[in-house]
């Protein structure tokens, strides 16, 4: 006998899928954030060759479909190095690099928005480059970049839905599995959509709260 109806176990399956999606998002976003802002700092100090190389590579990543990037890493790279990659590793690698590309362009804009005179003043006081980034450039660039970063985070959460193609059992794959058993695609995809929507909305809310906190010191005092 085929069990075609929805059961309580399906809830667990969807919850597990959502957990994988959120975990993958959190991990790759964090790595992308570190790599992307690192590349932006390299670019900012005009490190010869390395800066241009990073810029070209990240521009290529930003201007190509994530799906093709996933295929290249999961199917292409193993064919080249004769070494299979696990789906989760390939997904993590691709999404981290993709996030880094978008973070890089946001961080470059943020760093450029900090006034030149401040950098010159810091140099005059004898601050090293590391101190300059940590105390002068970083905090201010972050204030400029926080709004686009929140938008990017919501976007990258949705991009994780693509990893189902290479066999990672995330929320979309869980919906796919559920759909195959119940044959009720209308209800299943609506449910999956609602779950993604709720997750994205929560993320936006948290991001906005963080943004308000970062900007609190810059807000006009209402004189």
């Amino acid at each position: 006998m085929r069990h075609a109806g929805f059961t309580w176990h399906d809830g667990a399956l969807l919850a597990q899928g959502l957990g994988v999606s959120l975990g993958l998002f959190a991990g790759t976003f964090l790595i992308g954030l570190i790599l992307g802002s690192g590349a932006a700092v390299v670019r900012h100090f005009r490190v010869p060759a390395l800066g241009t190389l990073l810029h070209t590579g990240l521009e290529l990543l930003r201007n190509s479909p994530v799906l093709v990037q996933l295929f290249l890493v999961f199917f292409g790279v193993p064919a080249l190095i004769h070494q299979p990659l696990t789906p989760v590793f390939a997904a993590g690698l691709t999404l981290s690099a993709n996030t880094a590309a978008f973070v890089y362009f946001i961080a470059v804009a943020g760093l450029d928005a900090v006034g030149r005179d401040q950098v010159e003043a810091a140099r005059a006081f004898g601050l090293s480059r590391i101190q300059l980034v940590r105390h002068i450039l970083g905090p201010q660039a972050l204030t400029f970049a926080v709004a686009p970063l929140v938008g990017l985070a919501v976007n990258q959460l949705q991009v994780t839905s693509l990893v189902s193609v290479i066999g990672v059992v995330d929320l979309t794959k869980a919906g796919d599995i559920l759909n195959l058993r119940t044959l009720r695609p209308f209800a299943v995809w609506a449910m999956v959509g609602v779950l993604y929507f709720a997750a994205a909305k929560t993320l936006t809310l948290l991001g906005n709260r963080w943004e308000r906190r970062l900007r609190a010191h810059a807000a006009p005092l209402g004189l």
Partner: protein, 235 residues
């Protein structure tokens, strides 16, 4: 196996056929997205239930992954008796999501118009539709062309996802070529570069269009948002 792009030469015509299908679905999708973005952008500025409904629409389509939307349209709708083939599902999905992202751009373009311009039109006795058509939209769309362009570039990238609903556009044909040649790295690397080249060409075209439409402006319309556009994506 060393990296060798020449393995692709026998399959170039297959890939080209896929690329043409991508171009077709994207052109129709972008046209639909532009129309929807303009209409929604105008509605979202206003108050009342129409404005609230337009903002809700944008909220839903921006916060649900594109794959899930596509699956819903392609697999979900037949359950309630609506059948659309893969190509038109693709056009519809690109239009719906592009309209949502684009309407935000159009909306901020409208909000950036100086109120005095609209007030002058009102005093001049123009009706509301005439003000929107002859005053508001020409100004708003002119400033919105660059961010709209990056929304459309992202639609082209998102169209690769349509290969998941059996549409044999360029990513779909590339999958076929990869499994036929056993050279997935070459195939996908070539495809990645092709997409990047295409989107780069499109953004150059948009820059030229932007300059042409704003040629009478003192600063050539140089004033534009610093970061937005960079992360306006659809996935």
């Amino acid at each position: 196996m060393p990296f060798d792009l020449t393995v692709l030469t026998p399959h170039l015509d297959t890939l080209l056929a896929g690329a043409l299908l991508t171009a077709g679905v994207c052109a129709l999708g972008i046209a639909a997205a532009f129309a929807l973005a303009t209409a929604l952008g105008v509605l979202a500025v206003g108050g009342g239930w129409a404005g609230r409904l337009a903002r809700l629409y944008v909220d839903v389509f921006r916060n649900v992954p594109f794959v899930v939307q596509v699956f819903f349209l392609f697999y979900g709708l037949p359950e309630v008796g609506v059948y659309i083939d893969a190509f038109w599902t693709g056009v519809l999905a690109l239009g719906l999501v592009g309209g949502a992202y684009g309407s935000d751009v159009v909306r901020s373009g409208i909000l950036a118009i100086e109120p005095g311009v609209v007030e002058a039109a009102k005093v001049g006795g123009l009706s509301r539709p005439a003000i929107i058509r002859r005053i508001v939209l020409p100004i708003a769309l002119r400033t919105a062309i660059r961010p709209l362009g990056s929304v459309f570039v992202n639609l082209v990238l998102s169209s690769s996802i349509l290969s998941m609903i059996t549409l044999d556009e360029v990513t779909g044909t590339a999958r076929g070529v990869a499994s036929e040649t056993y050279r997935p790295f070459e195939v996908y690397a070539f495809l990645l570069a092709a997409y990047a080249g295409l989107t780069y060409a499109v953004s150059l075209g948009i820059d030229a269009l932007h300059r042409r439409l704003n040629r009478h402006m003192a600063d050539n319309g140089a004033a534009r948002g610093a970061a937005p556009g960079a992360m306006e994506g659809t996935a």
